[in-house]
Subunit: 98 residues, 2 copies
DNA sequence: TCCATATTTCCATTATCGTCGAATTATGAA
DNA sequence: TTCATAATTCGACGATAATGGAAATATGGA
């Protein structure tokens, strides 16, 4: 993973509504959730949620598939794993081996 | 760690110059580096670096001690470990055990 | 085709971020 | 005390982010 991707991924997660969205999707699991359901459950305006979903998707943290009229969003666990590995790899210096 | 601290820490790292500063400090190790030395080695204006150091310090990612006229900055490895543990704890769902 | 639903894009507004020169504060040495 | 060095704070600027109403796009059903 390039450093610019790391910065983008961290920036995507470094916003309260987006981290709520992401964790909600993590809790929902691999089968994902529709955008509308997310908007209702998190109390976000559709346009606002769409903006944040785009950010998370652009960073590679979530995937999107269509199911009928709905767009289903789910976490990209592999990307998250890569991001965490990068942080562990560069920040741990022995003292903080996991 | 509170979620607001997580957001603050991620936001602090989600900026190219700040991640450069942080990783430079990580590489320098626990003995740390003076602000002026950091500024020179990273090619940053003193005021700019000071701004970023304040952000990192406020997030708890680095510590600061005075040594004569110089202020020495060093990574806070414990904080980093806590942050990584939070991410692992909340995002891993079995698929991505480290 | 026409309509309803789901979501995104567009737009404007407000707030915050990143930058750096200049001024200020803090420390140490003569 | 006076000066030099180290770093921060101040001030201003341009750039980007966050928000949500309104309009546009996409899909499916009648």
């Amino acid at each position: 993973m390039e450093i610019v991707n790391v910065v983008n991924s961290l920036a995507a997660l470094a916003q309260e509504n987006r981290i709520r969205v992401f964790r909600h999707l993590v809790q929902a699991g691999p089968q994902g959730l529709a955008a509308g359901q997310l908007a209702e459950e998190l109390g976000l305006a559709a346009a606002t949620l769409s903006f944040h979903l785009k950010e998370l998707k652009h960073a590679g943290l979530i995937n999107c598939t269509r199911k009928g009229r709905s767009l289903i969003y789910a976490p990209n666990f592999e990307h998250m794993q890569t991001l965490i590995n990068f942080l562990l790899e560069n920040c741990c210096c022995g003292e903080c081996s996991s």
